[in-house]
Symmetry: C3
Subunit: 163 residues, 3 copies
């Protein structure tokens, strides 16, 4: 007598073989990289203009600051722009990553997931370009609105499905 | 001969059928929504007073800003309050969501999880009300303390159980 | 006739029995605690100098502020330093926690995971010490660079493995 036991193990929801999770993981990792790169842009701008420092000790003579001069601690718009962009990332990206995680867990249709997730990524890329090139408020605000609504939609979808 | 194979599959820890995870997922999603809504409050306040803008280009004439005037880039307390509330969210909510995730994984008793998680949510709601209505520091600080201790307790519980 | 059914259940990736996930969970929880403790340092500094408040209502007479005086709402470097450190945490720690989560899921070699994760934690601890004691920019920047590159490396490793 022979016994065959066949077990079909469904790929878990939090598996990269789940296309919804895969989409989310790729997008979230791109956004983490974006969030980690912005401070480097701030650093590059600070070193380029040797200004816009924030801590008193940064105005001291050192290899980073070989020729200290007056006013290096004053706000510098070129540097501040990158800092505002960074703060804007902080207001948005961790929320997207958290919302997306729960969104994946309620198993949305793949197409809906792709639309909301890539809308977010594209809107943030457009927001970056609008901000870094100082486009008028309306353009930047439009990009931001798409990204914000994508995250809010994901979270509302989660609540409707689990409460 | 008959063979009965009975497999009891326990609901996974990261499943919405796990009541601890469900509690966490509902609370975390509510907090993500709170975090995403605060910038909209900032936007609404900026448009209401047509002031408190931060980027030089926002003072240009555009549909959002049809009648530019002096001082639109100056700090405006009505707008700044919402920005401070947003920053306060950023200092707290991502920490809560991360701490809660690991807390769920160490499988705390349901009652403990409910107490810590809902203490956090209620304390943040009270903090929001105290901040937006400019209650004295002591009231806001008390709300903030409860929310902070809830997150610290969850993280300490995790460390004690896994280190 | 005897039947032996032996089932070897591999520990799941997101299980604390997975040493890569365990390493990540310990490090991430420590970093959440660090992120939650910094605001307490700000509070302690504010109460010590009774200055550096940010909201107008905080300058009112209350148990926290029994003797109001002029200038309590002005920026105070002793307090601002802790606020800058907090903002620096926000720019780094949520990114580390999110990057680490996806990093664990692509199942990196344990040694690589330990190196990147503990490099991050040690670099952030060193960054904290350099910042709180106002070391020159170069020292703080070096610590920050190690922590940032650890997170970027984890995210790049993820992208290479899943895209």
């Amino acid at each position: 007598m022979e016994a065959h036991i066949v077990m079909t193990v469904e790929a878990g929801i939090l598996s990269l073989e789940n296309p919804v999770f895969h989409t989310y993981a790729v997008a979230a990792t791109i956004m983490v990289l974006k969030m980690m790169v912005q401070p480097w842009i701030t650093v590059r701008r600070m070193l380029k203009v040797r200004a816009g420092f924030r801590s008193p000790e940064d105005a001291k003579k050192s290899p980073i600051n070989p020729n200290p001069r007056e006013g290096q601690l004053d706000a510098n718009e070129y540097v501040e722009r990158s800092r505002r962009m960074n703060l804007n990332d902080l207001e948005s990206i961790p929320g997207f990553i958290a919302a997306g995680f729960f969104f994946v867990l309620v198993q949305p249709p793949l197409l809906l997931a792709q639309i909301l997730i890539w809308t977010y990524v594209v809107a943030r890329a457009a927001h970056f370009l609008a901000y870094v090139t100082a486009q008028i408020h309306d353009i930047r605000a439009t990009c931001w609105t798409f990204s914000s609504l994508a995250v809010i939609s994901m979270s509302m979808y989660v609540l409707v499905n689990i409460v």
